[in-house]
């Protein structure tokens, strides 16, 4: 999910501390006691901006659950895209967090750290086998000692190249880059041939780029960030060299993902790390670019990168058994397949990717894209560490921009980013 982090994030820790007084903080048992009790009563299920396109699917899902479990009522609410983390923090603080919430690893990490989410490694350790191991791992936070959400939908995507631009700037479109080495070489070629602002790369590396480059992001215990090692310095140095050769514009330096997509649609950037819905987007908003676009496997030195959304259960839910049952129902193989056939995303349930829908290429570009991405998903990793907050994302981007501009030593910039991320970890 290429969603932008919230524009600013509330001081979450303080907020949750406040909330603990507000609701008369209950014992820590909430998160770990085994779930028992009847599947009955009312629960609230919150999704993040899914009503616009998939209302029918979710009403059907809720009805199916209620029919299968008589005596249950599921109230479905959907939140708008912006400010979702703020909404979660405020609700958690006020004790009004819904029973089942759609959540990304980073928000789950924050809420789990405050004892707001059910620790599945204690309450439901057997569930692990029902999901792709890498997806299950994405919600395992070693520093907190538990696993805090049921994996839901995944996304990944190949590289998109603007072949018209590659032609114009002397890059061979028959041999599209699939490694970082090839990408930087192509970037240098473009910089030497095209001097009017067209570049190969449209964005500075983010934390997941470091992961795909092969930089170790954190130690195994999940307590220390490690991306300031020699490999990390090497990656940033290559961006710096590209910038010095004219292969990155100054405007790129503070660009977010949406800016990168816009630049690609405007024909100014040759390479876009895309996702399974990028093709559809290009066709509807930038038809000229879509005509000449070429798709090739994601650029990585290791495994491909993916993003994940999960369903977490509120540890203070009044109907925990029902909430758990619903979270598992929504993320089971059948329902995940149902959702991924509606939305261009990938299921995390074990075995779901073996479905014919993800293995049969019927010749359309969309199906080809889907099948290739599904192959990538089955081996992909969620590189972005949950403990790397969106504030750290912004800070790191600024530091890397300074390093690329030559205003700061590369090593120093990464050291400071690591320190900042480290200081943002819950104590």
């Amino acid at each position: 999910m290429f969603r932008q982090p919230a524009r600013f994030v509330l001081p979450v820790v303080a907020a949750l501390a406040l909330g603990a007084c507000g609701v008369g903080g209950s014992g820590s048992d909430d998160t770990t006691a085994t779930v028992s009790g009847e599947i009955k009563g009312e629960i609230t299920f919150q999704t993040w901006n899914l009503k616009g396109g998939y209302e029918e699917y979710f009403t059907g899902l809720v009805t199916a659950f209620q029919t299968a479990n008589p005596g249950t009522t599921v109230t479905w609410i959907d939140q708008p895209p912006e400010g979702y983390q703020d909404k979660l923090s405020a609700d958690a603080a006020a004790g009004s967090l819904p029973d089942v919430v759609d959540i990304g690893p980073e928000a789950a990490f924050t809420l789990a750290g405050a004892g707001m989410l059910l620790d599945l490694s204690k309450t439901d350790p057997d569930a692990a086998k029902d999901y792709l191991p890498k997806a299950w791992d994405a919600n395992h936070f070693p520093s907190l000692g538990g696993t805090y959400a049921y994996p839901w939908y995944l996304n990944t995507g190949p590289s998109f190249f603007n072949t018209a631009l590659l032609d114009k700037c002397g890059v061979d479109k028959a041999a599209l880059p699939t490694t970082f080495d090839a990408l930087f070489t192509a970037g240098q070629t473009m910089a030497s041939k095209c001097k009017s602002g067209e570049t190969m790369v449209g964005r500075l590396p983010a934390i997941e780029t470091f992961g795909a480059y092969g930089v170790p992001l954190m130690n195994a215990e999940g307590t220390t960030f490690t991306f300031n090692d020699a490999k990390g310095v090497e990656l940033v140095t290559r961006y710096k060299q590209l910038f010095e050769a004219g292969g990155l514009t100054e405007a790129t330096l503070n660009e977010l993902q949406t800016g990168e997509v816009d630049a690609f649609k405007a024909g100014q950037v040759g390479w876009l790390p895309g996702s399974s819905y990028t093709l559809k987007d290009l066709k509807s908003t930038a038809p000229k670019i879509a005509e000449t676009v070429a798709i090739s496997p994601q650029i990585t030195n290791d495994k491909p990168n993916m993003y994940i959304e999960s369903l977490a259960v509120n540890a203070k839910s009044k109907n925990t058994a029902t909430a758990v049952a619903f979270a598992k129902f929504a993320t089971n193989r059948e329902n995940q397949l149902g959702f991924s056939s509606k939305a261009a995303i990938f299921p995390s349930a074990a075995g779901a990717l073996e479905d014919a829908y993800f293995t049969t290429d019927d010749g359309t570009p969309e199906a080809k894209l889907r099948v290739e991405s599904a192959k990538a998903v089955s081996e992909a990793i969620v590189y972005w560490p949950a403990a790397f907050s969106s504030k750290s994302v912004d800070f790191m981007r600024e530091q890397i921009a300074l390093a690329v501009l030559g205003k700061k030593d590369v090593q120093a910039a990464l050291d400071e980013s690591v320190k900042y991320a480290q200081d943002n970890l819950p104590k």
């Binding site: 999910m1 600013f8 509330l10 001081p11 303080a14 907020a15 406040l18 909330g19 507000g22 901006n49 899914l50 009503k51 616009g52 396109g53 998939y54 609410i77 959907d78 939140q79 708008p80 895209p81 912006e82 400010g83 703020d86 909404k87 923090s89 405020a90 609700d91 603080a93 006020a94 009004s96 996304n155 816009d262 649609k265 405007a266 024909g267 996702s275 819905y277 990028t278 559809k280 987007d281 509807s284 908003t285 930038a286 038809p287 000229k288 670019i289 939305a343 261009a344 995303i345």
Partner: protein
């Protein structure tokens, strides 16, 4: 004025017009572009090659805009009413009545201006929740119903009325209420309009606070509702532009209605404030 000077002046004026109205024009043009239009064409295209009104019907189909407008309207009404009445009364008291700790109270209002909303929003939410107003429009409107800035604006406006005017009224036997209603309030009508317009725009455009207070869609205000037009995975910029234009119409209407007073108010503030 020489010809060159005149040309220069018009050049600057045109430049400013483009700077201020350009983005609006772009949104308007985007909102009527059809599927055949390349949105990222270089150079940018203002006249759509495949014009359509489908985006507007698309917005109306996808989200219940009228219900959002109604909710936003209610919130705006409470906020505008609260600010015009509350800030005027409070401003008069701070400027004209003598009571103990008056300076301290004025200082408190200034301090309140310095506190960023992000710092207190959770505490504010807990307060609203504990009064049972979470997920209601009243809960959205109340915290901004009397703004500190507006109180200070009104205070300054009242202070600029010559004392003699009120003294004359007092000699004629007018009480505090009469002096407020018949002598002072009519003098500051312009500033009251400024307060009304500012608080309307503030209430109409607020996003974070309604997001936190409201959870049910039936209470959504327009900003929350239109945010839904951003697709889950891919956004259609045409749809968003159409939504923006729809949201803008009521603001333009309010401004057009109050414009006569508005400019008078700004001038009064500029000269005497």
């Amino acid at each position: 004025m020489t010809r060159a000077q005149r040309a220069g002046r018009y050049l600057v004026l045109t430049g400013f017009f483009l700077l201020l109205a350009g983005p609006l024009l772009w949104q308007l043009s985007l909102s009527v572009k059809g599927p055949g239009d390349d949105l990222y064409a270089q150079p940018p295209q203002i006249i759509p090659s495949d014009p359509t009104l489908d985006n507007y019907t698309g917005v109306l189909d996808r989200v219940p805009v009228l219900s959002y407008v109604w909710n936003s309207g209610l919130v705006a009404l409470i906020v505008v009413g609260g600010n015009v009445a509350g800030a005027t009364l409070a401003g008069y008291a701070l400027a004209r009545l003598r009571f103990r700790f008056r300076g301290l109270v004025t200082g408190l209002f200034v301090v309140a201006l310095l506190v960023p909303i992000e710092a207190i929003i959770i505490a504010q939410f807990l307060l609203v929740r504990s009064t049972g107003l979470a997920d209601t429009l009243l809960g959205v409107a109340l915290p901004t119903a009397v703004g500190a800035l507006n109180v200070l604006l009104m205070r300054n406006a009242f202070q600029s009325i010559p004392n003699e005017l009120e003294e004359a009224a007092r000699i004629d036997g007018a009480g505090v209420w009469q002096r407020f209603r018949h002598i002072c309030a009519p003098q500051v009508r312009g500033v009251m309009t400024v307060v009304a317009v500012f608080s309307f725009v503030g209430a109409w455009n607020d996003f974070l606070w309604p997001l936190i207070v409201l959870s049910g869609e039936e209470n959504y205000t327009l900003t929350l509702g239109l945010n839904r037009l951003r697709g889950t995975f891919v956004s259609d910029p045409r749809l968003i532009a159409a939504g923006t234009i729809i949201a803008l119409v009521p603001i333009l209407a309010v401004f057009a209605l109050l414009q006569r007073y508005f400019f008078r108010g700004l001038q009064a503030g500029g000269i005497k404030g």
